[in-house]
């Protein structure tokens, strides 16, 4: 669709309330939604569900679009569509049933933990987290524990060859990696991890960096570092168990 046609439809909908114009925009932009949904296909959720969720994101983007900003609708809509798909995964990828209240609290805590760490220059205590989000300490513990049942891995690594790979700095860690005892459990287990997990394990266990330092270096939250460390150790342990069975 030519950008002039798109703008005319946006004006018709946003300024004159022409719902048919919005429907036409949605229809015209569904290939974009499908393309974005396909990046997250094959991760346990039906692609058609992802397309539907992405379409909701598209409608939200159209509703919130500001004509005076002068950007293309597609540019504006992509983050909203992807955000909606990611939110869908976030709600669906908890390993155990976790009440919505705890999921939401855990997400707030993830942000608060990072903010307070930056503000305090150290990791916050449970009491500080509780005060910051206005709940009691037991709720903080419940929510942080619940967050460990969350499996976020797929969301940061969409299946899209066009998306630039995150710099992993793996080569920089090779020396540390090689420093591990030959044939040790950790050495064997590292081979089972993806590059980012391997890097996090090396930074934590060989370089002695704290979770917050790793989070800053890699550009993810401390909570995500914590989850990836746990998952990596579980994966490495699984490898050991297989080795023991086949030995």
């Amino acid at each position: 669709m030519a950008s002039g046609d798109q703008r005319a439809l946006l004006v018709a909908y946003l300024e004159n309330g022409d719902v048919r114009a919005r429907d036409r925009l949605v229809e015209e932009m569904m290939p974009l939604v499908r393309s974005l949904a396909n990046r997250y296909a094959g991760r346990g959720e039906p692609t058609e569900d992802l397309v539907q969720v992405g379409a909701i994101g598209l409608v939200k983007a159209i509703d919130r679009f500001e004509l005076e900003k002068g950007v293309e609708l597609s540019t504006y809509a992509v983050p909203t569509i992807v955000g909606e798909i990611r939110r869908h995964f976030r709600d669906r990828t908890w390993g155990v049933h976790v009440p919505r209240r705890l999921k939401e609290l855990s997400m707030r805590l993830s942000r608060t933990r990072d903010d307070l760490s930056a503000e305090l220059g150290r990791s916050p205590t449970v009491a500080e987290l509780a005060e910051a989000v206005g709940v009691d300490e037991e709720e903080v513990i419940d929510a942080l524990q619940a967050s460990k049942a969350y499996a976020p891995r797929s969301l940061d690594q969409p299946h899209d060859d066009d998306e630039p790979a995150r710099p992993t700095g793996l080569a920089d860690e090779e020396r540390g990696y090689a420093a591990l005892e030959r044939g040790s459990v950790v050495r064997q287990g590292l081979d089972t991890l993806d590059e980012r997990e391997r890097r996090i394990v090396v930074l934590r266990f060989l370089r002695g960096m704290s979770q917050s330092e790793i989070a800053a270096e890699i550009g993810i939250s401390q909570m995500h570092v914590s989850r990836l460390l746990r998952k990596s150790l579980e994966t490495m342990r699984g490898r050991l168990d297989e080795t023991e069975v086949t030995a």
Binding site: T125, E181, G208
Partner: protein, 116 residues
Amino acid sequence: MTEVVSITVPAAPGWSGVVELVLAGLGARLDLPYDRIDELQLATTAVLEDAVGPDVRVDATASADGVDIRVGPLTAGAGDPGRRRVLDALADTVALEPGRDGEMWAVLTFARDGAR
């Protein structure tokens, strides 16, 4: 004042979460930074995987200086150098000591402010 919290759970997957909750509660009472609690949990659950079963016991001794964790009985795999390296990075001190019946126990200490 020293406080001791002991918990015995089946040496089976799924029970580590119960131990983690207890440790989180203890860490919160001691006002430990959350990173410290997280690593206390991570190290302890890593050791739990070496439990020889059918049950595994965790004794957590809290003091003004921090927390000592004693876990056992464990398999000989707990002494693997690579795994030891992981525990060394998480805890301030790590020791393996024999129990009364010759089984192995791990003793981890976590200073309030951490080794780093």
